[in-house]
Homo-oligomer: 526 residues x 2
Amino acid sequence: MTSMAGLWVDVTVQGWAGHPCNFVNAFPVILLDLLPAKNGEEATMQFLLELVDILTNYVRKTFDRSTKVLDFHHPHQLLEGMEGFNLELSDQPESLEQILVDCRDTLKYGVRTGHPRFFNQLSTGLDIIGLAGEWLTSTANTNMFTYEIAPVFVLMEQLTLKKMREIIGWPSGEGDGIFSPGGAISNMYSVMIARYKYFPEVKTKGMSAAPRLVLFTSEHSHYSIKKAGAALGFGSENVVLLSTDERGRVIPADLEAKILDVKQKGYHPLFVNATAGSTVYGAFDPINEIADICEKYNMWLHVDGAWGGGLLMSRKHRHKFSGVERANSVTWNPHKMMGVPLQCSAILVREKGILAGCNSMCAGYLFQPDKQYDVSYDTGDKAIQCGRHVDIFKFWLMWKAKGTVGFEQHIDKCLDLSQYLYDKIRNREGYEMVFEGVPQHTNVCFWYIPPSLRGMEHNSKEYREKLHKVAPNIKAMMMESGTTMVGYQPQGQKVNFFRMVISNPAALQSDIDFLIDEIERLGRDL
Amino acid sequence: MTSMAGLWVDVTVQGWAGHPCNFVNAFPVILLDLLPAKNGEEATMQFLLELVDILTNYVRKTFDRSTKVLDFHHPHQLLEGMEGFNLELSDQPESLEQILVDCRDTLKYGVRTGHPRFFNQLSTGLDIIGLAGEWLTSTANTNMFTYEIAPVFVLMEQLTLKKMREIIGWPSGEGDGIFSPGGAISNMYSVMIARYKYFPEVKTKGMSAAPRLVLFTSEHSHYSIKKAGAALGFGSENVVLLSTDERGRVIPADLEAKILDVKQKGYHPLFVNATAGSTVYGAFDPINEIADICEKYNMWLHVDGAWGGGLLMSRKHRHKFSGVERANSVTWNPHKMMGVPLQCSAILVREKGILAGCNSMCAGYLFQPDKQYDVSYDTGDKAIQCGRHVDIFKFWLMWKAKGTVGFEQHIDKCLDLSQYLYDKIRNREGYEMVFEGVPQHTNVCFWYIPPSLRGMEHNSKEYREKLHKVAPNIKAMMMESGTTMVGYQPQGQKVNFFRMVISNPAALQSDIDFLIDEIERLGRDL
């Protein structure tokens, strides 16, 4: 066993389970010295400070462009065990020294999602205030189901949801809502509530109490609508996919035609999902035109702003949400564009009380009516969960620290950066844009065409097959070299292309330049 | 603005938004000094260390019996704003000093769920290793959906689930599973998978593709089964509640009778939930007898061990799970009895591959088949979520630090303590047990009878009405004085009684003594 970074001198003692450990002074060599052990304070503080040292070092390196984004290993390599790092669990305890080594190694073999050159997902960045919020949340270690055990967090959630509803534009911020474990679950809530609104008897009698219900969503929308359709008993075939224009936006006439088709078959069109910021193209469906159709056919309108939601806070960009106040429900994930640590997703609903109506089961052992405080603050019964993680605090704290204006600045900066990338590559040799025009969100979708492919006939099978392999090949090399990360995927008939997204507050123009240089360096000889 | 605890001298400068701030040396007075700002390292480290100081002080006090469990305030009091603590969000940023004050106040007005005298929920305690795990998890801030961005965590989840399946007793630990955002969602998974197993076409065609499906669960079981029935389109009326014996355990003959009744009506009995550790009584349903019936009628057997699961790790107590290896699926929440910080819940499934079959939608933009590594490790598509919080690390780290034997010791100790409480009060004047005999889990359910009620006729309406108010009254006073917390609820025809549960590793016999003294002190004159 090696001594850690000079923190311990090499004095070997026997730990709890007979493992030899190294320690200096009073460093806690055994688990049983930690709190709640009697006089365990000092040992606990030392252990936690050792950990904080590891964590702050990681934070420091995360923002250091000279460090790698990742140190890639294949699953079998990590499973076989790296030097001093073994994932297997055992009957006997490890020493606390080894625990700290495990912590260091876990970070070492992971991915620095806060690195200024990590562009791989919609959620990137490491906000220091958000991080502080998460550390506090885990120290408080409580549960959102009752005011009784989460008084401050329950109120923070209530106030923050109201603020979000005000920003959406619902009168006085009235309505309902809850933080859920991610956008897919938030979208699932919207489908459940829509069903409850029009066919409340399904709650007790099941789907057989309703006619055949149909959901509509764009072919570019997130797969969670289809998953919700399958899970909630509609069936994925009753999720009708809508055609989009070249930019990935729903064509309202297609929606109306498909509604009429469904009605003609004798089914019931229930719900339309309008995506505000699609996953791949960053497209915003035309909410107002969709809302007109929903009103005409008396349907529920949900806006999936999981990715786009942040733009509501920007005076410059919120026009892309024009009509959102007409929606019945909105998904909005602060953990994406707004840089809040994972998980933080809200489902917001215009009609007050409907969440509880839809989900409550009135479990007397948890939600006692005879408490000494106003039990309307016990919000647990409106969730599909029982216990619920505290996702609100980090978001509330970031809002306090940045103000609404701080979020606005962050959003505007990310969109400016994406425009910078767009301007840089749209006429650059070796690049082809997947769709024309300035992206609506920070998604910039493009093919990189290596020199060997540039003269080829674009419609040929050979060209398409070769181009399809370019992005995966470059991505694999990128991950091996660990310098940057960006996503790729096919879309419909389009072969693999890069999807660049920017939500990372640490990213600068020079990082965009770096990405392009890196793509060209790695792809040049393909 | 007051200077904090001597940490800053009173030098007032203008912060970002013009707020006056106090600072000492290079303490970061403005948000824009923090990373990713250029040269932001020092400011960031100082800010985080200030926070850690607040957090470690909180940890220290949590274990200090001379501090209160909570400092109770009504919702309106907190909403009106306490001195220096205002929950409202604003357009403009606050100073970082105020942010730290907000952190301190959030903890101050919260509930110390790790306090040795907090017995209010199934999840109690503050495990230092688990806390360390959560701090690291939030620093890593990644997402479980792909190996690509969570290589270490994905493997840890896989190994840990296998270990849990081995402990359940499935051959070679084979099978499937996933960590979900809580026991209710895990139970919902079990219902979805059961439906998929017997009626896979429901995934595409909806509930109309199946006969009327019926779920069975005990009247003492967790309400999440009913919620799942409502949400997934079965309808809550198709969740049949089973009668229990005096101890809250399902009566197998009642299950069989109700299955036959359902069949006679032409409906299809699909699924039985056997509870292993019920919420109120801590009862274990007889799994083997229920499994016999499930085999006879070709039904899915789910074991809800959300609360009881930890007992599987105790050689002394795991006999209560006898037959669990015959289950098709098991819910097991390490965040309850095993003291892992919230959230940490697993759904474990005997049949391999069925989770993906049930839930996958094969979203090409996320789960690309042409990656350079073995994409069978991209487990996201088997979840109903898309993004998924990293719940595994803290649990894995605790397992490393304690070993299986450490969890066993913790479980055995909690059950010993609960036996101590049971022995202490079962013949004590002024107490009446809700059910006879040693509890199966750590749940000790009892009425405290104040002296004024002791002579009364137990069956009289007046007695029942008075007794019904005793627990809420004592609980309210307990919360006002902040000395300890324990739950209460009615159950069926039984008026409000205390439900004591012990999962807190910090609790000692003296804390049990304290609770009883406190109940008597507060309830004496009722």
